[in-house]
């Protein structure tokens, strides 16, 4: 990869300052960014590591009962420390990549990258999470704006993600057998005011909510409630791993499995 300047600030304020430099790029766990830089698909002039900012690391529960996760918290830490508070989220984190990747990759990095096949966007959108940055709060419904596109402005850092905890939840991932990314992943969460269904891996627009399934499951939270639905419309990804129709079909299958597993 091309060389770059390296900065490792200890506070969010210093990180924001460092990111104001020309062609500066934030570095989370680097599990996507570093391979991208090796291929010279990215060549930042400065990398600003967010891995030494104590206020951005850790899992806690606030007085509203929401699970709050620092932006630089690794998947392994979420899998372990969120288990008692939000088991569906912890289970999703425990399925990302492989153990070594989970020890480096971070929730903020995953959400900022918004890979169309990543797992965390499904949890954030499916939970109606709040994405807190150094300058504002962004609702998950307004945050995801298409494949690799988010509401983040240049230099803006995800400092924390707040998840309202559902009554029941489950994530079902149909893995692409070589990469282990989600060919289709569905996160289902049942809240007192309704059910949310978020789908990753399937659409060219990235993560999305399947509104028809949400309505049907809000009325009756049972696997059979979606039987009569057609698979979701939309621009499904079609590639050598699966056609658009196949992916749409998988969305329905994985939604049913998630509902059944959520209990």
């Amino acid at each position: 990869m091309y060389n770059f300047e390296f900065a490792k600030p200890a506070t969010i304020t210093d990180a924001v300052k460092a990111l104001a430099a020309e062609d500066a790029q934030a570095l989370g766990g680097g599990q996507t960014l570093l391979p991208t830089m090796k291929q010279r698909l990215a060549s930042p002039a400065t990398l600003v590591s967010l891995n030494a900012i104590p206020e951005m690391i850790g899992v806690c529960v606030n007085d509203k009962g929401e699970v709050c996760i620092g932006g630089a918290t690794t998947h392994a830490t979420v899998a372990q420390e969120a288990r008692a508070h939000y088991p569906g989220l912890a289970a999703l984190a425990s399925q990302i990549g492989d153990p070594a990747v989970r020890n480096r990759g971070t929730i903020g990095g995953s959400l900022a990258n918004n890979d169309p096949s990543a797992c965390y966007p499904a949890a954030a959108l499916g939970s109606g999470a709040l994405i807190k940055t150094n300058s504002r709060d962004i609702a998950a419904d307004a945050y995801f704006q298409g494949m690799f596109a988010t509401a983040l402005a240049p230099g803006e850092i995800i400092t924390e993600v707040r998840f309202p905890v559902p009554q029941k939840s489950n994530y079902q991932k149909f893995v692409q057998p070589a990469s282990r990314f989600a060919l289709v992943g569905v996160f289902v969460a049942k809240y007192a005011d309704g059910v949310r269904v978020a789908v990753t891996g399937a659409s060219t627009d990235g993560v999305f909510r399947w509104a028809e399934a949400e309505a049907a499951l809000s009325a009756d939270f049972a696997k059979g409630a979606i039987d009569a639905l057609s698979p979701p419309k939309g621009d499904m990804i079609a590639d050598l791993h699966g056609s658009a129709d196949y992916r749409a079909h998988l969305v329905k299958v994985m939604t049913g499995r998630a509902v059944a597993a959520a209990g």
């Binding site: 990869m1 091309y2 060389n3 770059f4 300047e5 390296f6 490792k8 570095l27 680097g30 599990q31 570093l34 391979p35 830089m37 090796k38 990398l47 590591s49 891995n51 392994a76 990549g97 492989d98 153990p99 070594a100 990747v101 020890n103 480096r104 282990r180």
Partner: protein
């Protein structure tokens, strides 16, 4: 250039590195610890797995500059103090858990991390934990068997397929 200091296999090392220097490069080219292998360089194969602050990571996908102050352990730091193989390494030899040996350093480091977290893993748990370690020779059976044996479990019923 960034000045870094870290502990590698119990010894303090320091040096100036470029921002882009990967941990795997620093270990292999800087410290001549060539037991850590780079197979794919895309964080998929796991031959480069080392422990950083007690956790398994892929050293081809971590910057040295980001690991200042870290405690690193590589395959060279796995043997017993007298130089004999650790029980995990010995189990790989006893159960023929390697053929060409290229993936073995990463396999041993991942297995050691697993056994620290989960001292008596099931076969399913071993296979799950090795998802990020690719071996092209053994078909994994004997690697799994070696790790099960190293955890003190009876492996006589596991077929050497």
């Amino acid at each position: 250039m960034t000045q870094v200091t870290m502990t590698v296999n119990g010894k303090s090392v320091s040096g100036k590195v470029e921002g882009r220097t990967l941990l795997a490069e620093f270990l292999r080219e800087g410290l001549r610890l060539t037991g850590t292998h780079v197979g794919c360089d895309t964080s998929q194969c796991g031959a480069c797995v080392v422990h950083v602050n007690g956790k398994a990571i892929k050293s081809c996908t971590a910057l040295v500059a980001d690991l200042d102050g870290a405690d690193v352990r590589t395959i060279e730091g796995m043997a017993n103090p007298d130089g004999s193989l650790s029980s995990l390494q010995q189990a790989f030899q006893d159960h023929h858990g390697l053929q060409c040996g290229f993936c073995t350093p990463g396999m041993v480091m991942s297995a050691a991390a697993l056994l620290k977290e989960n001292p008596k893993p099931t076969e399913h748990e071993v296979r799950g934990y090795l998802e990020g370690n690719i071996c092209r020779c053994t078909g994994y059976h004997n690697i799994v068997k070696a790790i099960m044996a190293a955890s003190g479990q009876d492996v006589s019923q596991i077929a050497a397929e």
